[in-house]
């Protein structure tokens, strides 16, 4: 096991600090990424929360009542009343609907020519349609009361309107199984594909560059061990490195999402990510055969970003363009993310639910074997070229 020993020594002496920094960096990245994304699927009907900002210039009973009603149903976003901050917030979708209740709105409410509430929103967005429906609903009911009982105050009207508005239509779900809350885990593991591939190419690539150095290679091939045995030891060294990194990230997944380990399908994520680790390893093994000291970073960046962007690690696969979804069949990361998404939707373990998952995993393994085979062939070819 001389080669493996040499491998271990190189890692411990030359790269250990770099690797630790790398790992810390990517752990930070994945926390950031997971906490910013991920939506939960709820079982009971919940009204969608639109981010609405109410700017109340009127401050009368009617205006305040409307404001309270909107804030109760939507997610209120505080905004300053100047045009630039309103526009900026709208562009970055911090708020989706800005309602300005003009001064004198309540006074003109009785007259036929009432002042309109001005709204700002993203053009033609569904959220703004929804918010408009809510506002009109409140005001139409208020108007009915106001016309019927001109003598009562707007505070009373507000009470009455709220009581009426609580009347609801019965909502039921079509028969289906409740979904589990594994979407955060799914986001984390999807992002993991980028992390693993970027880390492995940079780590494994750097170590392999040393072994691929012409002089060192010539010396090593002089030794009385077969080239196959030599390569297997190298692969074993890389595998153990990959295993440690993979273990850290998987353990970390369940540290962030405590309590999700015993959910259905959690261990499937682990299996799938292990397959991914092997896959990424063989990709980086292949990359290391042709990369040079200067080109390893650019190549690594392109491959890791490219495969993960196109595979849907960052953006859900449903949002990818149609051509990409077809071309994705040739992208191993695409398969990985697809399996993850399937696991996320799984509710029970049975033969039929496991089948697509196993199929996806097998495809990834096939990719891994193919890349590794190419790498080995290239290594062998190189050897003859040097002679």
């Amino acid at each position: 096991m001389q080669v493996f020993k040499a491998f271990r020594k190189i890692v411990m002496k030359k790269f250990i600090s770099v690797f630790i920094i790398y790992t810390a960096l990517f752990i930070g990245l994945s926390i950031f990424f997971t906490s910013s994304g991920g939506t939960q699927v709820e079982d009971a009907f919940e009204l969608s929360e639109v981010r609405v900002s109410v700017i109340n210039e009127d401050n009368t009973a009617l205006a305040n009542g409307l404001e309270n009603y909107i804030n109760g149903i939507a997610r209120p976003v505080e905004l300053e009343n100047d045009e630039e901050s309103m526009k900026d917030a709208l562009f970055f979708r911090q708020t989706e609907f800005i309602v300005t209740i003009p001064n004198g709105f309540q006074e003109s409410f009785h007259s036929s020519q009432n002042q309109s509430i001005t709204t700002m929103s993203v053009p033609d967005s569904a959220n703004s349609e929804y918010a408009k429906t809510l506002i009109d609903r409140y005001l139409n009911t208020a108007k009915l009361y106001a016309t019927a009982f001109p003598e009562i105050s707007f505070d009373e009207i507000h009470e009455k309107v709220l009581a009426d508005i609580s009347t609801e239509v019965h909502v039921s779900f079509v028969d289906r199984i409740a979904t589990s809350h594994s979407s955060e885990l799914s986001t984390y593991f999807n992002f993991l594909s980028y992390i693993l591939i970027a880390m492995f190419i940079s780590m494994v690539g750097r170590i392999m560059l040393i072994f691929n150095n012409k002089e060192i290679k010539m010396r090593n091939y002089c030794a009385p061990i077969s080239i196959n045995y030599y390569n297997y030891q190298l692969i074993f060294g890389n595998l153990s490195l990959a295993f440690i990194v993979w273990l850290i990230f998987v353990a970390f997944a369940f540290v962030i999402n405590t309590g999700s380990l015993n959910e259905t399908g959690s261990y499937l994520y682990i299996v799938n990510s292990f397959v991914l680790a092997i896959l990424c390893l063989s990709i980086s093994f292949l990359v290391a055969t042709f990369a040079t000291k200067n080109s390893i970073d650019p190549i690594g960046n392109c491959i890791s970003l490219g495969l993960s962007f196109l595979g849907g690690s960052f953006v859900p696969q449903a949002f990818l363009s149609d051509t990409l979804q077809t071309v994705g069949t040739f992208n191993p990361i695409f398969w990985y993310v697809k399996v993850n998404d399937t696991i996320g939707e799984i509710t029970s373990i049975s033969r039929s639910t496991l089948e697509p998952i196993i199929y996806g995993i097998l495809v990834q393994l096939a990719f891994a074997v193919a890349f590794l085979a190419v790498a080995l062939v290239v290594i062998k070819q190189r050897r003859y070229a040097h002679q």
Binding site: F32, F45, L47, S48, V50, K87, L90, F91, F92, Q94, N114, S116, T118, T119, M120, V122, P123, D124, S125, A126, N127, S128, E129, Y130, K132, T133, I135, D136, R137, L139, N140, T141, K143, L144, T147, A148, K160, D164, I165, T167, E168, V169, H170, V171, S172, F173, V174, D175, N294, P298, C302, L305, G306, F309, L310, V315, F319, L320, S321, L324
Partner: protein, 371 residues
């Protein structure tokens, strides 16, 4: 002589494959990836009619149907209950409405479309409650013809047009352009190592020559700026012409901003190279990481970052050259007025000039008896 130095610096940059990759190819590759990954992202936002099936097994209240048609929010279809369930399972409709004993909305999962449908139905059911309450409180109203003049569908809102340019994704491309401009700092840092005699052998040779140091430095720097500016132009052309991302029609202003960006970026790198005493590889690595952090703060990786920084720490937004470039482009794209654009341009320019002044002050009259 200046032109001579300019020419050779330029040639050197073109022949340096690493520089070519990071300054020219990397932005193009990232732009392509953005384009592929985000092409469908914004399409979920726009409003499409909510697809609702009405069950034909039982009769629905007539006024409900007409109200739904009138509202123009729904795309109605008529099916039997079993068919509707199938459509639901395939997510072809958002929900279906049946009326066995009372109105009921059946859905697959919660969402915006379902909420719209529910609020509409709630409203319909609730109006009759309201009328009942009113008549209960004041029965004479019926005689006064109250019921005839009822209106439930009056609209109280008036939309103020904001801007047609609301595509949030372009900020990614703006941040990308900022990154392209700021990558010139690495070349700027390199240029310094070619004129500062204690940094490289070439620089020592350059200093021996009877060319003025300022002249040599300015020629090199302008070659760097030129090269970076060309690659920024290539990136803009690629993004707008080939990827068909709409940047608005103020192309000339964008070009000017990019030129300022390249200038400030180069000066920043030169200043960094001058003041920080480390090995050249370490310096370049540090610089590219600083650039990435600056770009991160201006929204290259997470769009909302730009907004968060602007709201929570406006000082950082105003001293971050990446954000000044991104914000300037954003102001051009989104606002009708040029006020904000010129503010960014001025800040960016003065920052570059300040850097340049410091560099010249530090560089001048440095002589070495021995190195």
């Amino acid at each position: 002589m200046s032109f001579h130095i300019f020419k050779y610096t330029f040639k050197q940059l073109i022949k340096d494959r690493m520089a070519l990759f990071w300054m020219l190819c990397f932005p193009l590759i990232l732009a392509t990836l953005f384009n592929l990954a985000f092409s469908n992202l914004m399409s979920t936002e726009s409003f499409e009619q909510v697809k609702i099936a009405l069950s034909t097994d039982h009769d629905l209240p007539e006024d409900l149907e007409s109200a739904m048609k009138e509202s123009n929010i729904f795309n109605l279809s008529y099916t039997t209950e079993t068919e509707a369930k199938e459509l639901l399972a395939n997510r072809e409709i958002s929900g279906f409405i049946k009326n066995t004993d009372e109105l009921e909305l059946i859905i697959y999962d919660s969402g915006l479309n379902q909420s719209i449908a529910k609020v509409f139905l709630d409203n319909h059911v609730q109006i009759s409650t309201t009328i009942y309450n009113i008549i209960d409180g004041n029965p004479q109203l019926i005689e006064m013809g109250f019921l005839e003049n009822l209106s439930f569908t009056e609209s109280y809102t008036e939309t103020v047009p904001v801007s047609e340019s609301m595509n949030m994704i372009v900020v990614y491309y703006f941040a990308l352009l900022a990154m392209t401009c700021l990558f010139s700092s690495i070349a700027g840092c390199y240029a310094i190592s070619l004129v500062q005699a204690n940094q490289s052998a070439v620089a020592a040779r350059v200093n021996v020559a009877p060319t003025k140091k300022l002249k040599a430095f300015l020629s090199m720097i302008s070659a760097t700026i030129c090269f970076q500016f060309i690659s920024a132009m290539i990136a803009i052309t690629y993004i707008t012409q080939i990827l068909k991302v709409d940047f608005g029609d103020r192309i000339l202003h964008i070009v000017v901003l990019c030129l300022f960006g390249c200038f400030t970026g180069t000066m920043f790198g030169a200043l960094f190279g001058l003041l920080v005493k480390l090995k050249s590889e370490v310096k370049e690595m540090l610089l590219s990481n600083i650039c990435m952090v600056l770009c991160f703060l201006s929204g290259l990786m997470v769009l909302q970052m730009k907004y968060i920084i602007q709201e929570k720490a406006p000082i950082i937004a105003y001293i971050n050259p990446a954000n000044l470039i991104t914000d300037g482009l954003y102001a051009l794209y989104y606002y009708d007025t040029f006020h904000r654009y010129f503010l960014n341009l001025t800040l960016l320019g003065s920052m570059g000039i300040a850097f340049c002044a410091i560099i010249i002050l530090v560089l001048r009259r440095q002589k070495y008896a021995s190195i």
